[in-house]
């Protein structure tokens, strides 16, 4: 966790310095998108290439998929009043 926060912190410092180079700063969102695709592809390989994960998918995959779906739905439903309030507020105070 510390390394992750350190990477984010170094990026912040770098970004403050980058304010003087707006042309370079403009390219960061594109780099993030490309990095995102690389990360998702690599994570897919990690899941598909792990024999333990693939064996458990065969054995208890349907149970786990259902558990994940329900827990995600639970989190979304419990946070929904907050999200609806936030939506209303966004409409009143456009950012």
């Amino acid at each position: 966790m510390n390394t992750l926060l350190a990477a984010l912190g170094c990026g912040l410092l770098f970004g403050f310095g980058l304010r003087r180079f707006p042309n370079l700063a403009k390219r960061i969102p594109f780099a993030i998108t490309m990095g995102l695709f690389a990360l998702i592809f690599a994570m897919g390989i990690q899941v598909g290439g792990s024999p333990e994960v693939m064996e458990s998918v065969v054995e208890i995959g349907s149970q786990a998929a259902l558990f994940a779906l329900f827990t995600v739905t639970g989190s979304v439903l419990f946070s929904l009043p907050l999200a609806l309030w936030w939506r209303k507020r966004q409409r009143r105070v456009p950012s």
Binding site: A25, L36, F41, A64, F78, W86
Partner: protein, 200 residues
């Protein structure tokens, strides 16, 4: 874009099953870790360029700080209900739900307390949660349910799912996601053993 993300994920899984040479999984894991560090670095740089962060953080409505609490509660309650539904036990299910997408730690913790079978189920459930996050988060952001979109990622909103949040939710949601991820990550090692201890 969303379809491209799903396609990339499926292509990765396919490549992992059929193409990955034996013994190179560690290399892929290292690749994931370094890509993640690079992405977090870039997200930091992007956030710094988007204005005064401290001011933005202060301006975040304090009610939004409730988000991690609601997110954890929803996940635990839904986990308990699923456990009852699948007849594996309410508290066992709640403990699995308390993993909040952090598959490594929840798998180990439940493996130690409830046995290997529950450890494996918690591990796989939380892997699925992370995969769902990649697919569902962009949709909820598109429908303007920003805070709810963040909750899908659970504890991963300060690492693997943060790039998605930054891409679709912007800098305000990125700040909230870091807070959400930090609270969930701190809570998982406490909640999971506690819920497991309630198993009769």
């Amino acid at each position: 874009m969303i379809l491209a993300l799903i396609g990339t994920l499926l292509a990765g899984i396919f490549a992992g099953v059929f193409w990955l040479p034996q013994g190179s999984l560690d290399l892929v894991s290292q690749g994931v870790t370094w890509t993640l560090y690079l992405l977090l670095f870039l997200i930091g740089a992007d956030m710094a360029g988007s204005g005064n962060l401290w001011k933005k953080f202060i301006q975040l409505d304090k009610r939004l700080f409730l988000l991690p609490v609601l997110s954890i509660l929803g996940s635990v309650v839904a986990g308990g209900l699923t456990g009852t539904l699948l007849q594996i036990g309410t508290w066992q299910g709640a403990a699995i739900g308390g993993g909040m997408g952090w598959y490594s730690i929840s798998g180990v913790l439940l493996g130690q307390t409830l046995g290997a079978q529950f450890g494996a189920l918690a591990f796989l459930t939380n892997i699925f949660r992370e995969l769902y996050a990649f697919i569902l988060m962009p949709l909820l952001f598109r429908w303007n349910f920003g805070p709810s979109a963040i909750t899908i990622g659970g504890a991963t909103t300060m690492d693997t799912t943060l790039p998605i949040i930054n891409r679709y939710g912007g800098s305000d949601m990125t700040l909230l996601a870091i807070l959400h991820g930090l609270v969930c990550s701190a809570a998982v090692p406490i909640i999971v053993p506690f819920l497991a201890s309630l198993v009769p």
